[in-house]
Symmetry: C2
Subunit: 485 residues, 2 copies
């Protein structure tokens, strides 16, 4: 499973279209937007992630000799086009929302301004990377929300959809709020905490459970978390764990961090029983870790039931975002540059929500000055300028009668898209993952509780600027389908 | 996104346990089984896949200097253990079910017999790889079953959970029955067909739709499939496509393969209308491709509605196995070797299904001699030998009163586990993917229709040999929980 160069990580039609543009000598500069239409898992927001890997991918774009030979072997590409591919590299501009930012449907999360042949090639990989990591970061933020500040550990590598899903999924999970991961490679690559203790096989490889516990405690005196459910949680695992803790206490060797892990059974019942046993034995500070097919709803339910759990290991349901395993990011043509002007383009659909927003755009986030919370987002034309001192009228692009007037000075504005590539050169340095995580926590604080709640969250308004709204509707009015004949 | 060495693609606890075994000088040879408890998506069977990548991973296991430095930096590993890791490589045996084989719950799909330190390290990556690819191969076989022999193309890269999920997911999808993939990298790596034509952006980048169609047809005269839903399928896309086909016909340049692709709207209605328009215009052999959030249920429903679709492009729901995005493969200790004997080990659970099958085992598949269909699978001890001439009694391991007597000569037997590694050396060569696909088709033919159907399939019996059954129950009877104190 060595890593191939990822330049061919693209849909075949990107290459057939590229050859078409090449043959037609049409390599105009175009604008493509990445956006999505629905938050995953019924969430009221999403967390944007994956930009560092997109940058990596763009920087390393290049067709190797063996790629060219392979494409030649397909008998669909001509030599002049293959020759062009040999010298291919990205020369365009990319703008993007920074990783860890809270985002909403219909907003351009990433914008490519590049010659169409380049912009077309990179569609698939950009979507693959952003869709995956944004999905997992969003899910992680929900799971951590349910855990109400208690540590959530990412434990899903064995159920992830292949190595990368484990590696970059764990990265995204930390961005979304997990305190660390069991995945050692991710921990090494991104300098995030590697977490975990032992498995049932450790216990089963010793003559008996207490010997296994004793050996483990001796070996890892910094953090002794014992897995108590191999044979019988309350009749074997807990008494044995308490015995070992007592022995350590007697010997004056109490670990700094210690506790037990429950990995099966009725976690509400077992955790309360275990808590009681630990407290009665004089170990009120022993941590109770739980890990058994958890997700945000189960954690929420366990909290409601008063489960005595302090720390959560979440695997399958987080690393696959099980209830919604795909983030529906799309990549749509928004404009074609003719001379110095961007000619807006629109994609029609019978479904109003599926009609794209035309033109070269940006996003302004509007915060309430007093609370720092998000009031709304405004998708505007890139050329538009707003000043916080002036009053601002915003309106819902579907229900246009829903208008809001913001007094000058009552709000602050922040442009979300920042330059990543300029003329093919990377002009952005990705923060390290733990810093992105801290930034993401601050981002989540800009949401009202009503938007963060797990079920039926309040939608944040994403409005269109008046210029964009007028442009969109004039394009819709004037498009003459018959004219396409 | 360059590929790191995957040796650290493991759970942190595997390494802490390894150090524990190292310190205890316990490096006995053990048997670990990979098995799963439930088929995904309500399927009556699963398709095993991923072995080639497991082999690759095992062959390349080695801790690089930077891995050792990283582990040292964590402050939990001692120098003697780190020194041991520097020379680490796999020295054990692996047996596995070949890729593309139909498998059922509780069967060991892969068996590791190796010193415990080695067997423990490789748990996570083996599960990651086998779980992912078996999941997608199984899903693909269901989607292809619904398409009733019509070609299904894998189109999901942009929604896959990261690059590997796209690369190896497409590989598994082809194993499960897809005719090819849009993913160029997978097509190159595994020599499978690369498929696809053009996107909405191709159409939108031209002045009008018909110019875009004409250009495409001129460029790709071998296979001209035109995407007709950019503006208005029936009023613009279809008339324009027919006009272009007529022009080609008139010029004597009719493509060998040609047709239209529907990517939105009511596929049942639109495909029937499109079929009628094509037929009336003299193009009865034009292919109608559909691709719009399809899965096995939607394809089945479109078939029932008489949709006039000949070819299917399936993306998100296949590449993520959306209704069940995780294959629950687990890795459980089954035995410890003492001298020349395998001491069986069992993991208890309150749930009867979660109790493991102890000992060093294998699987025999029992076929009905007359029909070639699977009668049942038999999990037996590795030492057991069966002869097809003798009668065979098999029984359900839960409902033991359900017994079946097979007459000698009425059945054939096949052992499913084959040697992959022996003494650390790979003794198996993976077939190429298109050959695995052909083998998988033959495997699927060994299932009764009642097991293949999409909803409420008939379960295939997986029985235990009498020796294994007796061993399991004697272990359950004699396990003395108190004895663990």
């Amino acid at each position: 499973m060595g890593r191939e160069n990822l330049t061919l990580l693209t849909d075949f039609y990107e290459l057939t279209m590229m050859q078409g543009y090449y043959k037609n000598k049409t390599n105009e500069t175009v604008v493509f937007d990445v956006f999505y239409r629905n938050n995953p898992s019924g969430s009221g927001y999403s967390i944007c992630a994956g930009l560092e890997q997109v940058i990596d991918y763009i920087k390393n774009l290049c067709f190797m000799e063996e790629d060219i030979s392979y494409l030649r072997s397909l008998g669909m590409f001509e030599e002049d086009f293959l020759e062009y591919l040999k010298g291919f590299h990205f020369t365009g501009d990319i703008y993007a929302v920074e990783e860890g930012t809270v985002v909403f449907p219909m907003e351009p999360l990433l914008k490519v301004i590049a010659p169409i042949m380049e912009a077309q090639l990179i569609e698939t990989a950009i979507l693959n990377i952003i869709n995956h990591q944004s999905l997992i970061a969003t899910k992680a933020s929900r799971v951590c929300y349910a855990a109400k500040g208690e540590p959530v550990m990412e434990f899903g590598l064995r159920r992830a959809q292949g190595p990368d899903a484990g590696i970059y999924g764990a990265r995204a999970a930390v961005i979304g709020g997990c305190v660390g991961t069991s995945n050692v490679l991710t921990a090494k690559m991104f300098d995030v905490p590697a977490l975990g203790t032992h498995a049932h096989s450790w216990i089963m490889s010793f003559e008996d459970e207490i010997t296994a516990f004793r050996e483990y405690a001796q070996l890892y005196p910094q953090n002794t978390t014992l897995l108590v459910d191999t044979y019988d949680t309350l009749r074997s695992g807990m008494p044995n764990a308490i015995k070992v803790f007592s022995e350590l206490k007697e010997a004056g060797k109490m670990p700094l961090k210690y506790g037990i892990r429950l990995d099966s059974g009725d976690l509400a019942y077992l955790s309360k029983k275990a808590r009681k046993m630990l407290n009665e034995a004089g170990f009120p500070d022993a941590v109770i870790v739980a890990s058994s097919d958890l997700d945000e709803y189960l954690i929420d339910s366990l909290k409601t039931q008063g489960a005595a759990i302090n720390s959560w290991g979440v695997g399958t349901n987080l690393i696959t975002s099980k209830d919604c395993p795909a983030f529906g990011g799309v990549y749509k043509l928004a404009a074609i540059k003719k001379g110095n002007e961007f000619i807006p383009k629109i994609k029609l659909s019978e479904n109003q929500w599926k009609i794209t927003n035309p033109g070269n755009k940006t996003i302004y986030r509007i915060y309430d000055k007093e609370t720092g919370k998000i009031k709304a987002d405004l998708i505007s034309m890139a050329y538009e300028v707003y000043k916080e001192e002036y009053p601002l009228k915003i309106f819902d692009p579907m229900a246009t009668w829903k208008k809001t007037y913001l007094k000058g000075g009552s709000y602050t504005l922040r442009e979300l898209l920042v330059p990543i590539f300029a003329g093919g050169k990377c002009v952005y340095e990705s923060p390290n993952v733990m810093d992105i995580r801290a930034y993401c926590q601050r981002e989540l604080d800009t949401l009202w509780d009503e938007t963060r709640r797990l079920v039926n969250p309040h939608d944040v308004y994403v409005d269109l600027s008046n210029d964009l709204y007028q442009l969109k509707h004039s394009l819709l009015d004037t498009i003459n389908v018959a004219g396409n004949n």
